[in-house]
C-alpha cells in the first residue's frame, strides 16, 4: 500500500511537470498550428536562469532564494517565448513547416549554448530544507517536492481555465482554436493573441523547468528535450488544443510511467507510454477530448 501511494504521488508529480509543458504546447498548436520544438529550450533556459539567480543570493535565506529562482524562471521563460514569437515565428506566418524548422534550429542552438556555458553535467540546485523532507501519506514517506509540484500544476490549471473561460482574451483564444479565419474576419487582432499564448506557454514551461530542478535537485541541459518528447505524447493523447485533455493525459502518462518503471523494469514505463499513444491513435485518433483530426 505504501509503495502504491508513493508511486501514485510520484507519478502525479511527474505528470504535473508534463502538464506544465504540454498546456502551452497544446494551446500554441491549437491556435497557431505550430509544433514548438523550442519549448524544451524555454524550459532549459528558464531553469538555468533561476538556478543562476539562486546562486547569486547565497547569503539570503533558502526560501527567498528558491522563490526568487521561481519568479526569475517564469519571467525568463515568458520573455524568451515572446521574443521567439515576435522575431522568428512572426516573419513566417504563411509557412507552417518553416515555423517548425525555425523552432528546431532554435532548440539545437540554445541547448548546445547552455551546454557550452554551464557544462553538460547536471548541477545541484539548492532548495529549502523542508522541501527535501518527507510527509507521511497513507503510511508512505512522500518527498515534499512531489506535493509542491502537484500543487503548482493544479494552480496553473485553475488559472488557465479561468483565463480561457472567463476573460475576453481567453474567449479570443478559444474561438481562434476553433476557427482562426472566422475570428480574423470579425476584425479581431489574432496576432496579439498569438504573442500572448506564446508568452503564457513560455511562462508555464519556465515554471516547469524550475520545478523539475526542484523535483530532481539538479539542473540538466538535456532534460528539456526528453521532457518535451513526453509532453508531445501527452498533447496528442489529450487531444490537440485542449488544456483539460492535456491535464488528464499528463496524469495518465506520469502515473503509468512510474508504475511500470517500478514493477516491470526501468524503461518499460517509458516504452509503454509510446505504446499507449499508438493504441489511442488507432482507437481514437483525436485523443481523449477530440472528435477527429
Amino acid at each position: 500500500m505504501t509503495t502504491i501511494a508513493l508511486l501514485l504521488i510520484t507519478g502525479l508529480g511527474l505528470g504535473a511537470l508534463y502538464f506544465l509543458i504540454a498546456a502551452g504546447l497544446s494551446l500554441i498548436w491549437g491556435l497557431m498550428r505550430v509544433l514548438n520544438f523550442a519549448h524544451g529550450a524555454f524550459f532549459t533556459v528558464a531553469a538555468y536562469a533561476g538556478w543562476s539567480a539562486s546562486r547569486l543570493l547565497t547569503s539570503s535565506p533558502a526560501e527567498l532564494r528558491w522563490a526568487v529562482a521561481v519568479v526569475v524562471a517564469i519571467v525568463v521563460g515568458g520573455a524568451f517565448a515572446a521574443l521567439t514569437e515576435v522575431l522568428l515565428i512572426r516573419p513566417l506566418y504563411s509557412r507552417h513547416v518553416g515555423q517548425v524548422l525555425v523552432t528546431v534550429g532554435l532548440a539545437l542552438a540554445t541547448i548546445s549554448l547552455v551546454q557550452g556555458g554551464f557544462g553538460s553535467d547536471p548541477q545541484p540546485f539548492a532548495v529549502p530544507d523542508w522541501m527535501t523532507n518527507t510527509s507521511s501519506i497513507a503510511g508512505a514517506g512522500i518527498p515534499n517536492t512531489r506535493l509542491l509540484v502537484i500543487v503548482f500544476a493544479a494552480v496553473v490549471l485553475a488559472v488557465l481555465l479561468f483565463f480561457l473561460q472567463r476573460t475576453r482574451f481567453g474567449l479570443i483564444v478559444r474561438a481562434g482554436v476553433e476557427n482562426r479565419d472566422m475570428v480574423q474576419a470579425l476584425g479581431i487582432d489574432v496576432q496579439r493573441a498569438f504573442t500572448l499564448v506564446f508568452t503564457i506557454g513560455g511562462m508555464a514551461a519556465g515554471l516547469s523547468g524550475i520545478l523539475a530542478a526542484t523535483y530532481y535537485g539538479t539542473v540538466d541541459p538535456v532534460r528539456g528535450t526528453s521532457m518535451l518528447i513526453f509532453a508531445f505524447i501527452v498533447v496528442i493523447i489529450g487531444g490537440l488544443g485542449s488544456v483539460t485533455g492535456s491535464a488528464v493525459a499528463a496524469v495518465v502518462v506520469g502515473v503509468l510511467q512510474q508504475f511500470l518503471n517500478f514493477y516491470a523494469a526501468a524503461g518499460v514505463g517509458d516504452f509503454s507510454v509510446v505504446l499507449l499513444l499508438a493504441v489511442v491513435l488507432l482507437v481514437r485518433p483525436g485523443g481523449f477530448s477530440g472528435s477527429s483530426t
Binding site: 513566417l92 532548440a107 548546445s112 557550452g116
Partner: protein
C-alpha cells in the same frame, strides 16, 4: 540538365572513384593527403550522410511528410546488422538478409500507424516512436545493444577486406557505391508514375483522393522505401565506424538530418546530397575549429558559442530558413543552368 553539367558530373564521379589512388594534399580542406585513411573515412561518412539526406528528402521533400523519426530506420540498419554480427556471430550475408527483412517490416507497421495522422501530429507521432527505439537501445535489453556504450564490431566478425586501416579504401568504395545507388533509386522513384502522385499529394492531398487514388497507400509506399534505403545507409555507416553507437537513435540525429535537407534545399535530390555532404564536413571541421588555439584564446563570451558546432549549425539553419528558403541548392540553381 545541360550537356556541360552532365559532363561535369561524370568527371566528378570518375575523380571520386579513383580518389584512393591520388596522393596529393589539399591544405585547409583536409588534414592528410586525399588517399590517407582519415580523409577517406571522412569522405565515406560524407557519402553516407549525403545518401541519408536523399532518403529523407523522398518523404519530406517529395511527399511533404514531416517525419521526426527517420533516425529510427537508420539506427535499425546499424543495430540489427551489428547485433547479428557481433552478438549472434552470423555471417555478413545472413546478417544483411535479416536487416533487409526487419527494415522492410518495421516501417511498414509503424508507417501504417503514423500515417493515420497528418501534418504536425504525424511529426509528433513519428518522433514518439523514434524515442521508443532510442529508449530500447539505451536500456540494453538482454545485453544486446550495449546501452550507452554502444556495440563495437570485433575484428573477426567482418570479411577481412572490410577491416583495418589499410582497407579503408574498400569501405570508401562501398560508401561511394551507396550514394550512387541510393541517388539513382531515389531519382527513378520520384520520376516514376507513383513518384508523380507523391508530389501531387504534397501539393494537394484531397485532390489526389478526389481523383480516385488512395493517398494513404502512396504515402505508405514512400515511407517504406525511404526508411528501407535509410537502413541500408545505416549498414554502411556501421562498416565505416566499426561499431554502433546510441547517438544515431536520438531525436537530435533526426533533427540533424532535417538540417541537412533544409541546408541543401528541400525537394531536390542533389540539393539533399549537397546538404548531407556539407553538414557532415562542417560538423567535423567545426570541432577542429573549436579546438584551434585562435578560438581557445578568445574571451569566454565569444569562445563558448564558437566551440559548439551545434550552436553554429543551429544559427546557420535559422538564417537559412528565414532568408534563403530554397537552401544552398536553391541559391545555386539561380546561378547555374539546372532544373529542379
Amino acid at each position: 540538365m545541360t550537356r556541360s553539367v552532365r559532363i561535369g558530373v561524370a568527371v566528378l564521379l570518375v575523380v571520386l572513384a579513383v580518389l584512393p589512388f591520388v596522393g596529393i594534399t589539399i591544405p585547409g580542406l583536409f588534414d592528410g593527403a586525399l588517399n590517407a585513411p582519415g580523409t577517406l573515412n571522412l569522405l565515406g561518412m560524407c557519402f553516407v550522410f549525403g545518401a541519408l539526406a536523399v532518403t529523407y528528402d523522398i518523404v519530406f521533400g517529395y511527399v511533404g511528410l514531416l517525419s521526426f523519426g527517420h533516425a529510427l530506420y537508420f539506427a535499425t540498419g546499424v543495430y540489427v546488422t551489428a547485433i547479428a554480427l557481433a552478438r549472434w556471430h552470423w555471417s555478413l550475408p545472413a546478417a544483411l538478409a535479416l536487416t533487409v527483412v526487419v527494415s522492410l517490416v518495421l516501417p511498414l507497421v509503424l508507417g501504417a500507424i503514423c500515417l493515420r495522422m497528418r501534418d504536425i501530429p504525424f511529426a509528433m507521432v513519428t518522433l514518439a516512436f523514434a524515442q521508443a527505439g532510442s529508449i530500447l537501445v539505451m536500456q540494453n535489453p538482454f545485453g544486446l545493444t550495449g546501452g550507452e556504450e554502444g556495440l563495437a564490431l570485433g575484428g573477426d566478425v567482418l570479411p577481412s577486406f572490410l577491416v583495418g586501416v589499410v582497407n579503408t579504401r574498400n569501405v570508401y568504395w562501398v560508401a561511394f557505391a551507396l550514394i550512387v545507388v541510393v541517388y539513382v533509386v531515389a531519382w527513378r522513384a520520384v520520376n516514376s508514375p507513383p513518384g508523380r502522385v507523391w508530389q501531387a499529394i504534397r501539393e494537394n492531398e484531397r485532390r489526389v483522393g478526389v481523383l480516385g487514388l488512395n493517398p494513404y497507400l502512396y504515402k505508405l509506399g514512400a515511407f517504406v522505401l525511404s526508411a528501407f534505403l535509410a537502413s541500408i545507409c545505416g549498414v554502411v555507416y556501421l562498416l565505416l565506424q566499426g561499431g554502433a553507437n546510441p547517438q544515431v537513435t536520438t531525436a537530435d540525429f533526426t533533427l540533424a538530418l532535417l538540417v541537412m535537407v533544409v541546408l541543401g534545399g528541400v525537394g531536390t535530390l542533389w540539393g539533399a546530397v549537397l546538404g548531407g555532404l556539407a553538414y557532415e564536413y562542417l560538423d567535423f571541421r567545426l570541432v577542429a575549429l573549436s579546438n584551434a588555439p585562435a578560438v581557445q584564446s578568445l574571451p569566454a563570451l565569444l569562445r563558448v558559442p564558437l566551440s559548439e558546432p551545434l550552436f553554429l549549425l543551429g544559427v546557420l539553419f535559422i538564417v537559412l530558413v528565414l532568408f534563403v528558403p530554397g537552401g544552398l541548392g536553391g541559391a545555386l540553381r539561380r546561378r547555374l543552368p539546372l532544373r529542379a
